[in-house]
């Protein structure tokens, strides 16, 4: 009986922290996923593994580095609000900002304009790498909340914006040069 109890506690102690980590920043995503005006996109780690495994003729070592970065991504969640619901992009931006625990994340970049504001937060991993990136964009008509998880080299993140069409990654271009 004692052994069973010990194994149960050990198992929970291994599972629960991972579960809590997986919820970081995603509570906001889950709350609005499926609500009016919102589009939620979730790409699983396996999808990134398949993309990274594609046999693309990448003789360029830098192109190969991009493929390796894609392989290091463990998940991508994007939440886009284009109106039609009860919320406003500005209020969503503020709520999203509060949903990210300040203890684990630090602000990497903030862009404040008349019509647009961008907030980028990161959770550090090993030197030069990040474990998680949270991007929030409010441009009056649209709100984008993006979380990117993995073991991502910070210097290469800006390249993702140039390669991906839409999905709110355009704001990552502002990170060009960061981490180098």
């Amino acid at each position: 009986m004692k052994r069973l109890f010990f194994l149960l506690v050990l198992g929970l102690s291994l599972v629960l922290p991972q579960h809590l980590m997986a919820q970081t920043g995603n509570a906001f995503f889950d709350r609005y996923s499926g609500q009016d005006g919102f589009t939620a996109i979730n790409i699983t780690p396996k999808m990134f593994e398949l993309i990274a495994a594609m046999s693309i003729d990448a003789e360029d070592p830098e192109a190969q580095a991009i493929l390796e970065m894609i392989e290091s991504i463990e998940g991508l969640n994007v939440l886009i609000y284009e109106g039609g619901g009860n919320a406003s992009p500005r209020s969503l931006f503020q709520e999203a900002r509060k949903s990210v625990p300040s203890g684990n994340f630090e602000e990497l970049m903030t862009v404040q304009g008349d019509e647009e504001q961008v907030h980028i937060l990161v959770e550090d991993g090993k030197p030069g790498y990040i474990k998680q990136l949270v991007l929030m964009v409010d441009d009056q008509d649209e709100f984008v909340f993006l979380t990117l998880r993995g073991n991502i080299e910070l210097a290469q993140i800006a390249k993702l914006a140039k390669m991906a069409d839409g999905m709110g990654l355009d704001a990552l271009e502002n990170l060009e040069g960061v981490g180098q």
Partner: protein, 222 residues
């Protein structure tokens, strides 16, 4: 009794008209046989077409050889679709509307019904790849992966609360084929070159611009 210039074997051969009839029968039987085999290979049930006041339920299978042949015949198919079609071993399409919809057309219950479908998919060994969800629409892409991350089965499910559409493919798509698909879309080293700001003739094209062959259709991005 055979004639001096005709062997007994030749005397028993069917005439030209009979040979043509036999050939025509075989030509017609092949696709029918193919559909029957495809139904057995690509899904647990055969073809079904129901369209009445209660709703619509359409389900049919297409054998792999027809899909692969169509990859060559269809004139306006996008290049990336042709590449994928060449690796299809079987295809099953299912459409449900009205009372045949998993939620019987109840938009409020559609989300739960969709979740049940995905849970059943997971029990069947499918790995989730992508989910897209809005207030009214849900799209799920799942796959059964084999050795070396080869895609053995691919399931694409879409539901807007009124129509439930499911596409299931039996495939043998490996990393090399996925690379072909990606290059067929024009997403290739040129685009990667753009990502590094290379100012070369190869990188001169804007992202998404047509670097595909001239006979590709213009509907790559749909």
């Amino acid at each position: 009794m055979s004639t001096p210039h005709t062997s007994p074997r030749k005397a028993h051969r069917p005439s030209g008209r009979k040979r043509r009839s036999l050939a025509l029968l075989l030509i017609l039987a092949v696709p029918v046989l193919g559909f029957m085999l495809g139904a057995a290979a690509a899904g647990p049930a055969g073809p079904r077409i129901v369209d009445n006041d209660q709703g619509t339920h359409i389900a049919f299978s297409v054998p792999g050889f027809l899909v692969r042949a169509a990859a060559r015949w269809i004139p306006d198919a996008p290049d990336e679709a042709r590449v994928l079609m060449r690796h299809v071993r079987g295809l099953r399409v299912e459409v449900r509307e009205g009372d045949y919809h998993p939620a019987r057309g109840d938009a409020a219950a559609a989300g739960q019904a969709f979740a049940r479908t995905l849970a059943q998919r997971e029990r069947q060994g499918y790995t989730p790849l992508m989910r897209v969800r809005s207030a009214d629409e849900r799209i799920a892409v799942d796959a059964v992966l084999g050795r070396g991350d080869r895609i053995r089965k691919l399931a694409i499910t879409a539901d807007d609360g009124e129509s439930f559409v499911q596409l299931r493919l039996k495939t043998n798509i490996g990393p090399e084929a996925l690379g072909e698909v990606l290059e067929a879309t024009g997403f290739d080293r040129k685009r990667m070159g753009l990502a590094f700001g290379e100012d070369t003739p190869e990188a001169g094209a804007a992202p998404g611009a047509a670097s595909a062959p001239a006979d590709a259709s213009g509907a790559i991005d749909g």
